[in-house]
Amino acid sequence: MTTSRTLRGRVAVVGVGETTYYRHGKSEDAEFKLALKAILAACADAEINPRDIDGFSSFSDDRNEATRLATALGIPSLRTATMQWGGGGGGCCAAVGNGAAAIATGQADCVVAFRSLAQGQFGRFGQSNGIETISGEKSYLMPYGILSPPQRFAMRARRFMYDHGIDQEALRAIALASYHHAQANPRAIMYGKPLDEAKYDGSRWIVEPFHLFDCCMENDGAAAIIMVSAERAKDFRNKPVYILGAASGSGPRFAAQAHNSEHYASANFGTVAPDLYRMAGVSASDVGVVQSYENFTAGVLMALIEHGFFKPEEANDFLQPANLLAPTGRLPLNTSGGNLAECYMHGFELVLEAVRQVRGTSTSQAIRSDIALVIGGPMVAPVSNLILGSEKVL
């Protein structure tokens, strides 16, 4: 790879913003208004004029179109409008990478990447009524009662746990870490609602092997970041947070329908994680803090393994709560509370938290935070990931 074909150090995040996070259906604001509020909050954080924005990037068929946003904000020149294909949160990091790519290649100067959700207005991922007939992938699943995301992913998790002897306690540790960090984060939906081992063990099954606390919340809100070129980044008031690497994609035939992925018991980072580390020029041991998308805890388990933090046979030992907690755990994980306990902004809140870690402003700051990893949407296709870093590691 030549140096011109990389994002490393060429684009920086200079602003982050989010709305209040709500339980699903509880936002009084329309979804589009939430998007605008998050974008304006990110602009205020960066102290940038919203009219300087010239691009928007999102994922998972975000309903809040770039052209409507540009129109509503009176933006004089829209230069890029990018949507990452694929559902769920697989694109939460790709939205950042795609926006950054537009800046690095001179197509745009100031790009917002964002996600906005008002599930009371538009319905939830976790319920599927009102469908009479179905074709394609879902036709092989829904008639057998496999309708919602936890039902679609439980068998991947079960097979991985079977293959490698993973204990339920490993999944529990991931949930406990998210909830622990949420107790320090006033933005978190689960702030003031701690989780302990007994409460996890006693919680109902959603679908085995997922207890209630293995599953993400569903929420309303919006989150956004502002990106500019590295050359301009130091003109802004915040400590610049540079993109060291971004990758997205899918392994061989991962999306083969009716659960026919060649590497079935996988989070689908087998090809995407090496791509990311190659661009960033770092390895797993250089990463100080990780935000890893918890659609389900087992997705985090597999994603961390595929990103090289431990081997499958080490999972039961590594995934102990103490190892996963900021400031000094071996691998501080989901330090805002993540999808389980901060807010399920389809993973975009994880991007904001990684920015805060590199800035040094997290509510659960990790000691080693100059290189921060974000892992998006495990077990879907395409997935994406992102490594952010401080000026020190450029």
Binding site: G126, Q127, S128, N129, I131, E132, T133, I134, S135, G136, E137, K138, S139, Y140, L141, M142, P143, Y144, G145, I146, L147, S148, P150, Q151, A154, M155, R156, R158, R159, Y162, R204, W205, I206, V207, E208, P209, R253, A256, Q257, A258, H259, N260, Y264, A265
Partner: protein, 152 residues
């Protein structure tokens, strides 16, 4: 047909082939108690779910081959939380992923018939049972599975 013969309550989404007819042979086959899977006549690669091209050699229109509805449990889940109104108060149910060794290890999803609280062992041999929904809005058939030791 008596409703009690169905593993799950009626009213779940009904499977139909795509408008381009891609999976017609599969769904029509189940109606006749036959299981068809694609097998490329050029390179011999098995393929499920169907596609218009062989993913291995890129010859179009892979052939459909009838295979025995016999397989082994590759993974499983016991579902507790209802994600559809017709499943409310239905209680737990079992879904399994079945691997067909006689068809290039393609996999398909179904329900494991019998006690929903039974212990499920990966690797167990299962036999396909065709479940006909003839009075549904769109008549269709599903492929369910029973442990081979219990098979009628």
């Amino acid at each position: 047909m008596n409703q009690s013969k169905f593993y799950l309550p009626e009213g779940l989404p009904i499977p139909v082939p795509e408008s381009d007819g891609l999976a017609s042979v599969y769904w029509n086959g189940l109606r006749e108690e036959k299981l068809f899977v694609q097998k490329c006549t050029h390179c011999g690669t098995w393929q499920f779910a169907p596609e218009w091209i062989c993913h291995h050699c890129h010859v179009f229109d892979p052939a459909w081959v009838e295979v025995d509805a016999i397989g082994h449990i590759y993974s499983w889940e016991r579902v507790w939380h209802p994600a559809h109104s017709v499943l409310k108060d239905h209680g737990p149910y079992l879904a399994i992923l079945v691997e067909l060794h006689q068809a290039g290890n393609v996999r398909m999803v179904g329900n494991l018939l019998g006690d929903p609280m039974q212990e499920v062992l990966i690797g167990s041999k299962v036999k396909g049972i065709f479940e006909h929904h003839l009075k549904a809005l769109v008549p269709h058939s599903l492929l369910q599975w029973r442990l081979e030791i219990d098979a009628i």
